[in-house]
């Protein structure tokens, strides 16, 4: 399938952002380890002619040593992308390569870790036994498994007293720590994380963020799927925004957020007639606690708002400037895509 203009532009953006992206100084940093080309996934339920396009023409590169964020509203194709990258589902079209191989290759799976969203573990096992089971799947010897389990449980900060309890007695937060521990068991080069802070309290979420940064600082690569855009903005080097199965924005966080400033102008003393004029001129405003709040997305917009207030003989109370967040970019991207 030929690439669209948008995809080509996005790829160009990815190329220009590569230097900024990789903050790690690990050997091989910047090397592409995940590559998708025109990736498609169409679901066709059994006994039905109806189809659902979950992903359409996704082309992204993920480089060694970066934290790559995958964000999007529900049903945007994030989880489908993750499953395609892990070989849990097969693409309808296009290709996926991880470390230059297919995602189902056992050799690839030796080098990756996956933290899924809310899995259960064999509930008759305790944390050590769960990790021992996963360690065996990596072919680790008994001594290595034991040492490594202790190490990763320390890393995810699961209380020592809780480790010997069967996991069915665990809280959601404790389960999520075990989930992270199993994902780190093989010291993976590439870590996939799907909603890693689900079920964690603020302290747990903070620890999870710290661990993610440490993983990256150790030269590993992280692909993070999350709804928490503030976290994504804080820790991700590059971000892809998906909407209804298509890539709508892709780049480093500074590239996406941009240098532009947004302004909020608070004023009072408007007549109903002058506010009607504001609506007619296309100036966005809301009434708030007895005053009116205008929004402007640029310096020129700010000047227009201030001129309007002056012409309406109203009084300016306050002007606040603030930088755009990833959430603003996200909401704008999804809305401009006609899906918001």
């Amino acid at each position: 399938m030929p690439q669209t203009q948008e995809q080509v532009q996005l790829q160009t953006a990815s190329a220009t952002s590569s230097d900024v992206a990789s903050s790690a100084s690990a050997p091989g940093a910047g090397e592409i380890i995940i590559q998708t080309r025109d990736l498609n996934k169409i679901y066709r339920p059994s006994f039905s002619r109806l189809t659902k396009t979950a992903l359409h023409g996704l082309t992204i590169d993920v480089k060694r040593g970066e934290i790559f964020g995958l964000v999007g509203p529900n049903g945007s194709g994030k989880t489908t992308t993750l499953k395609l990258l892990l070989g849990l589902i097969k693409p309808t079209g296009g290709s996926v390569e991880i470390f230059g191989r297919g995602p189902r290759d056992v050799a690839v799976k030796s080098r990756i870790g996956f933290l899924p969203d809310g899995p259960y573990f064999p509930d008759h096992l305790n944390a050590y036994e769960v990790l021992d089971f996963y360690g065996q799947l990596f072919g680790m010897s008994k001594d290595v498994r034991r040492a490594r389990a202790e190490e990763v449980l320390d890393l995810v900060q699961l209380n020592k007293a809780d480790r010997a309890r069967v996991v069915r007695t665990y809280s959601k937060g404790m389960m999520q720590r075990v989930n992270l521990a199993q994902a780190l068991m093989n010291d993976p080069e590439l870590l996939f994380m799907d909603e890693p802070t689900t079920g964690l309290d603020p302290i747990g979420a903070r620890q999870m963020k710290d661990v993610t940064l440490r993983v990256r600082d150790a030269g590993k690569t992280v692909l993070l799927c999350s709804h928490l855009l503030a976290d994504v903005q804080a820790i991700c080097d590059r971000v892809a925004i998906l909407s209804e199965g298509e890539l709508v924005k892709f780049g480093t966080v500074p590239e996406l957020v941009g240098p532009s400033q947004n302004f909020e102008v608070f004023a009072e003393g408007f007549s109903d007639e002058s506010l009607s004029k504001a609506s007619a001129q296309g100036l966005p405003f809301v009434r708030e606690n007895g005053h009116v709040k205008f929004e402007a997305q640029s310096s020129e917009g700010l000047q227009t708002v201030l001129r309007f207030i002056n012409d309406a003989n109203a009084r300016t109370l306050d002007v606040k400037g603030y930088s755009e967040t990833l959430e603003d970019v996200f909401v704008r991207s999804v809305k401009s895509d006609g899906r918001g």
Partner: protein, 362 residues
């Protein structure tokens, strides 16, 4: 925080291109096991060839095709990698710790243990009643375990998303599925072993308490045990051993069905398959496969009957209760033929399950 993330030593020594390596010791153990299977196959072939034809027609006569089951067994041994074994052991531990499994086994042990108290129901034929009751009860309980556990092998892992954490590790889908089946068979073997031991002990206790220890072993055609306790116990053990192949088939049926159907539907269909398989001789007569002239059927119905007869597992071959109750021996050729058929059938079902599972999307 631990410095472990900086430490590559745990996995750096492994060759990524080959995935999880299989050690020479593992391979040597596999060869030893396969050699043992070959020796047993040779022994069975010689003993089967020399033994006289039995009394159940062609199914008691030796045929070289009966050795195919040993080939299937050797192939299964070759497929067991350390990863498969890990999945099998974990599955086994998980299965035996299920509460309903414990309750089922406990109930069966109690019912078999007290079986001698029920012999008043068939006065004069107490030992026949005991044999029928013991085998029948063991068959029902282990069959329920085989079908319910068989369906519950992959479905909960998928529903609870445990499968994501497993299949993202260096394991292929064949190893996962075969490991699950192996773990299931280990669980069923343990159940059957425990129940058989209790049943055989109860039977021996009953006979000895009636005749005294020395007389019980005499094959004098007198007393409670017509052919002697040794004959009875060995015949009963053969019947229970044959039932294990029955379980192997039904567990594979349940696992294969659960790849296509929802859990409850798979359970219902598996029970239907069992009852149809038990009445396979009836289908055989309808299809004219027994050599007798079957009933005259319309061509369309004949096609359906032939198809059912062709697909159905001959589960009645594993049920030798009639022989046991009537003090008839179960011959070596019969055991080999039935066992071989059971292994081949289970292998075919597992291959079907694998093809469905390998393409399955989660």
């Amino acid at each position: 925080m631990s410095p472990s993330l900086q430490n590559q030593s745990i996995i750096s020594a492994r060759n990524y291109a080959e995935g999880v390596p299989i050690s020479p010791r593992w391979r040597a153990a596999q060869f030893v096991l396969m050699g043992l299977i070959a020796l047993v196959a040779v022994w069975f072939a010689i003993a089967g060839y020399r033994s006289p034809a039995g009394d159940s027609g062609k199914f008691d006569n030796f045929s070289p095709f009966d050795l195919v089951g040993f080939g299937v067994l050797a192939w299964a041994v070759w497929l067991v990698t350390p990863t498969t074994w890990t999945v099998a052991i974990t599955t086994f531990h998980e299965a035996i710790r299920r509460r309903w499994m414990g309750a089922l086994l406990g109930f069966a042990v109690v019912m078999l243990g007290v079986s001698t108290f029920f012999t008043w129901m068939q006065p004069g034929e107490e030992q026949k009643f005991l044999r029928d009751y013991g085998i029948g009860f063991t068959v029902i309980i282990t069959l329920i375990a085989a079908i319910f556990l068989g369906v519950a092998m992959t479905v909960p892992d998928i529903e609870r998303r445990t499968i994501f954490t497993i299949l993202s590790k260096p394991i292929n889908r064949r190893e996962y599925l075969f490991g699950k089946y192996l773990g299931l068979m280990m669980t069923l073997a343990l159940n059957l072993l425990v129940m058989s031991a209790i049943f055989l002990l109860a039977y021996a206790y009953f006979v000895i308490s009636k005749e005294g220890f020395a007389a019980a072993w005499r094959a004098d055609g007198l007393g409670v045990s017509y052919n002697g306790l040794g004959f009875d116990l060995s015949n009963l053990a053969k019947a229970l051993w044959l039932h294990f192949f029955n379980l192997a088939i039904m567990a594979a049926v349940a696992m294969a069905l659960s790849q296509f159907l929802t859990g409850i539907t798979a359970i219902i269909i598996a029970f239907v398959v069992y009852f149809l398989g038990q009445s396979a001789s009836y289908w055989e007569r309808l299809a004219g496969g027994s050599g007798e002239s079957g009933p005259v059927l319309a061509p369309a119905i004949r096609g359906v009957v032939d198809a059912v007869y062709f697909v159905l597992p001959r589960l009645d071959r594993f049920d030798v209760r009639e022989r046991i109750v009537n003090d008839l021996p179960v011959g070596i050729n019969y055991m080999m033929k039935a066992g071989s058929m059971g292994l081949v059938y289970a292998a075919v079902l597992l291959v079907v399950a694998y093809f469905a599972f390998s393409d399955r999307e989660f």
